[in-house]
């Protein structure tokens, strides 16, 4: 007869195994389809499309709340941010977000959205509970990309016409510095330690490396490609690599963050713009707007391991839990 202690031990192990399995579930990847007016949902475990959510007109910027329960989508033609319940996959609210909202960032604590308003040359701060606009902050001309520092203290807003990044203090809710970067900056991303940031310059064909504490560009990495037109940028959770989507040369540049050099170019689909990386850093998802697909890159091998057809004109990517 099996001793009680053995049965308890076996039962405990079984329970632990179940918990470990459910805690390690692969996340869902959300893709905004600009001309499809939808969001495609991909299961990162299988890299298969599991749903398509109709959201509204001209979805572009997309983000997920830290708890994974809410997806936010900027609807440029509806002038709102759609609030989608991740479980039911239904739009449950629409927040007025100024004219033609294109991109935004979710604060690390999930309480705010920082939205760029291109026509108004401002950034709006929204309360995620109520949708209320907490502040409207003047930034550079034709603002687009928005990124929040990992500690939530700073927000970077790129401006295409002034070629600047406005640095917003999230406590004071005002611009505290302006950094001149490359020509036509599109997006930026912080390293996990918050010490550096990368900003893509689409016409400049380069990536500006920013020392966050100094509010200064400390290096410019030229992308050695014919007309690369860099757009999206993300940093690996380890902080070792950064990835840049080159919409013109149809590849993803891999940046060695420590050495500050371009390590590789990975060919993907046509006109890659949006990027999303899983929280464990194992997979990078790339939205290819013209080939209407998502490339899946295994970051260990730095190779494309899958190509997934999605909706019309995929634009942005957000990775949930």
């Amino acid at each position: 007869m099996t001793p009680d202690w053995v049965r308890v031990a076996l039962l405990s192990l079984a329970l632990l195994g179940a918990v470990a399995t459910s805690g390690a579930a692969e996340p869902l990847v959300y893709v905004s389809n600009e001309r499809g007016n939808s969001v495609t949902v991909i299961d990162a475990a299988t890299d298969k499309v599991v749903a398509s959510i109709p959201v509204g007109n001209r979805p572009r910027g997309i983000g997920v709340s830290p708890d994974g329960r809410t997806i936010y989508v900027a609807l440029g033609n509806d002038n709102v941010i759609a609030v989608v319940d991740a479980a039911s996959r239904v739009v449950k609210a629409r927040f007025a977000a100024g004219t033609d909202p294109e991109t935004f960032a979710v604060s690390p604590d999930g309480t705010r959205l920082y939205v760029s308003n291109e026509d108004a040359n401002t950034a709006s701060v929204l309360d995620t509970k109520t949708g209320k606009v907490l502040a409207t902050i003047p930034v550079g001309r034709e603002p687009e990309g928005v990124a929040v520092s990992p500690d939530g203290r700073l927000v970077y807003v790129t401006a295409e016409t002034t070629h600047t990044i406005s640095v917003i203090d999230t406590s004071a809710l005002k611009t505290v510095a302006t950094i001149l970067v490359g020509s036509r900056p599109r997006e930026s991303a912080f390293t996990p330690d918050g010490q550096r940031a990368f900003a893509t310059a689409e016409i400049g064909g380069a990536v500006s490396v920013i020392d966050v504490a100094k509010n200064a560009v400390v290096a410019t990495l030229k992308l050695d490609r014919p007309a690369p037109k860099p757009k999206g940028v993300v940093v690996h959770p380890s902080g070792k690599w950064a990835y840049v989507a080159n919409g013109g040369s149809n590849d993803v540049a891999v940046i060695d963050v420590g050495a500050l050099r371009i390590a590789d170019f990975i060919p993907v689909g046509i006109r890659p713009w949006g990027l999303g990386i899983t929280r464990d850093g194992k997979k990078l998802y790339v939205a290819n707007g013209v080939s209407e697909s998502v490339s899946v890159i295994d970051t260990a091998s730095q190779k494309v391991v899958a190509t997934i057809p999605v909706g019309k004109a995929p634009w942005g990517i957000a990775v949930g839990r």
Binding site: G140, R141, E160, K174, A177, T178, T220
Partner: protein
């Protein structure tokens, strides 16, 4: 125009200001409590023609606004001074003598030659209206930068589309004896031959009739061609003159540097801002003037350019300029022509014609893959800058 007493050389005397500035390409600034700035004057030579003067002024004003949106973030500001050209080249020279950092002009008959007189005096000039090939060749000047496309670039855009893509290889040329017409014809003979086509004398048998005329002759030749039964899409011309044809005589395929309905690469935003401000479409001249002001603004901020020589150095360093055309626009080393994609516009379908839209729509954009396929290549260039 009296010289501005605050201008010494090319800059206002420096006043104290808050924040820190670094030269050579990057800068960071905390918000400044006081408005103490370095102010730089840009001279604009207006043509005598009122309509063209308006287009130029409007583009320059929007460009000034955009330039200052950047410059004022870093303690600098641009301002404009204008003079009207009287045909003797004195307007640009006066602006230069009064301390303008750069002189923008070249619009209107003889505008290019008049502008170059200021360059000969030592001013840095930006040509936003004269497409003459000879200004980029025999008459080139190291202090002159050409934002507006050249005759050769326009013609190359047409042959690239119509010969290479549409295989319309037999061309005839209808000239009017004007100097502009002669340049267009010469460019056509080079360009058509380079792309494997032929220029024939028989205008009836030709696939394409190219109008080698100046702006004043365009309407009459197009009208005659259409009256003779020629299809509008078999007539080709250079510049915006054709777009001003009455709707009932709209015809031809026109190569141009900008169109008010362009949308990609934030052209929609630029066209929209222009239209909201002026309740008018952004013309090619307006775009070139906007671009010139923006270029000067970037030189002042990125390179700390405070005089003409520094401006020349900045432009020659080929900084990637965003003209909302999707490509980095840079000046060619050999003739200081701004590389850029061009557009070919043709008659809109009758049912699409609306009051504000005009009779022409953009049919193609040309040159993006190799911007040096448009215009004079380095090996062919007759420009020799003085050391």
């Amino acid at each position: 125009m009296a010289p501005d007493p605050r201008v010494t050389g090319h800059r206002v005397e420096r006043r104290a200001f808050l924040g820190s500035l670094a030269a050579a390409g990057w800068a960071s600034l905390a918000p400044r409590a006081a408005h103490a700035e370095d102010v730089f004057t840009v001279g604009v030579v207006l043509p005598a023609d009122a309509e063209k003067a308006t287009e130029l002024s409007r583009g320059a004003a929007l460009g000034l606004d955009d330039a200052n949106a950047l410059a004022t973030l870093f303690g600098k500001r641009l301002r404009l001074e204008t003079e009207t050209e009287r045909g003797d080249g004195q307007a640009g020279r006066a602006l230069a003598r009064a301390g303008a950092l750069a002189v923008v002009g070249g619009v209107g008959p003889g505008g290019g030659e008049a502008l170059l007189q200021a360059a000969t005096d030592g001013a840095t000039v930006l040509n936003v209206g004269a497409p003459d090939d000879r200004l980029r060749n025999e008459r080139c000047d190291r202090r002159a930068f050409h934002v507006t496309p050249s005759v050769s670039m326009y013609v190359d855009a047409l042959t690239q589309l119509l010969i290479e893509q549409r295989k319309l290889t037999r061309w005839a040329v209808a000239g009017d004896g004007s100097p502009r017409g002669a340049e267009i014809e010469a460019a056509a003979r080079r360009s058509v031959a380079r792309r494997g086509g032929t220029v024939i004398g028989d205008t009836v048998a030709a696939d394409i009739l190219l109008l080698a005329v100046d702006d004043r002759g365009a309407e009459a030749v197009v009208a005659r061609g259409i009256a003779e039964g020629r299809r509008p899409d078999r007539i080709a011309g250079v510049g915006e003159a054709g777009l001003r044809l009455p709707v009932e005589r709209a015809g031809g395929l026109w190569a141009m540097g900008w169109h008010h309905e362009l949308e990609r690469f934030s052209a929609r935003e630029l066209n929209g801002r222009f239209r909201r401000r002026w309740s008018a479409p952004m013309s090619e001249t307006s775009w070139a003037a906007w671009a010139a002001l923006k270029l000067v603004g970037e030189a002042v901020v990125r390179a700390g350019a405070g005089d003409g020589a520094a401006l020349v150095a900045f432009m020659e360093s080929a900084p990637p300029f965003d003209g909302h055309k999707g490509d980095a626009l840079t000046f060619r080393k050999w003739d200081h022509q701004l590389r850029q994609p061009l557009y070919v516009a043709g008659p809109r379908k009758r049912e699409d014609i609306g009051g504000q839209l005009g009779p022409f729509a953009v049919l193609a954009d040309v040159g993006g893959k190799n911007l040096d396929a448009l215009g004079t290549a380095t090996a062919e260039s007759r420009c020799r800058f003085a050391p």
